[in-house]
Amino acid sequence: MINENRRERGLTLIEIVVTLAILGIVAGVVGRPLISLIESRTTIGEAASRQADIDYALARMVSEIRLSSDTETVECPAPPPTDDTVLSIGDSEYSLNSSNGQALLLNDEVLLKNVDVFSCEELDPSLRLYELEIKVPDRSDNYSVRAFKRVP
């Protein structure tokens, strides 16, 4: 009889408080690593995507230099007067623009975001050999590659 009464009376305030406290502790112990895991997954995804974007930007410029025709002049660095243009290959103009959070632009379209430095150097005019370099925040190494303009 006493037992039945006990079952029917429900939970006391102290029992609820203790349960909530235990749940809070468990959530603190399990939740923190879970949040870190989700954050890590996001970081990994962003890093992989960033790497692919940088590779794509460099590969695109290198291919354009290599395969440009005789009528498509490669100007690297682009001569004045040019606002922010660093490299121009025929009609394609690659520039570094701070108005888009320092982005590398191709004909005013964003090709790569968050770029600290983008430079182009003609290593030897007689050899038609160029060197492109990109530096991005949070990375100590520069991304650089050379491109030889093929004889059409």
Binding site: L37, R41, Q51, D124, R128, E131, Y143, A147, F148
Partner: protein, 174 residues
Amino acid sequence: MRLKPSQANDRLRHQRGLSLFELIITLLVVGIVTATVTALVVTAFDRIQFNERFGQDVRAAESCYETILAIHEGNAWSIVTGSGGDDPEPWQACGPCDPGEADSCPADWTEITNTDGWVDSTETEELLNACSVPALPSSNGFECRGVSLAGDRATQFRIPIRGNNNLELVIPID
């Protein structure tokens, strides 16, 4: 009030809490799950870093490749006199052979540790540093050998990337 023996057992069971065995099993399961998840995250980070370094190694090898091609197309090699007459330096340095007799071409690669004298201009010589050991990821540097290209003389270059991966380039001499 008197309890039945079965009720007394139940009460005792509730009150005694977890056994050591149950606790160990729980900790073991939590440990295995944590270790698996941590290993996966660490592997993913390692893979990202490996891909980034591999990409840089490929670009370094690509820069060496493009430089050699530019020097060749720009006719900027030094010309030296060998047994077969005046030839570009790489042909002499990489093991000249008779292209008519394929067997005379070296099967082994010649490791290039120094490209001094391969080109006449000092500026161009500096460009060839893209193929030197500090610029390339492999400590072996790049290699070359004389080959027969459809009966004509040619030099084959092998630029290391990483592990067994290489970029190869064949340039005709004649």
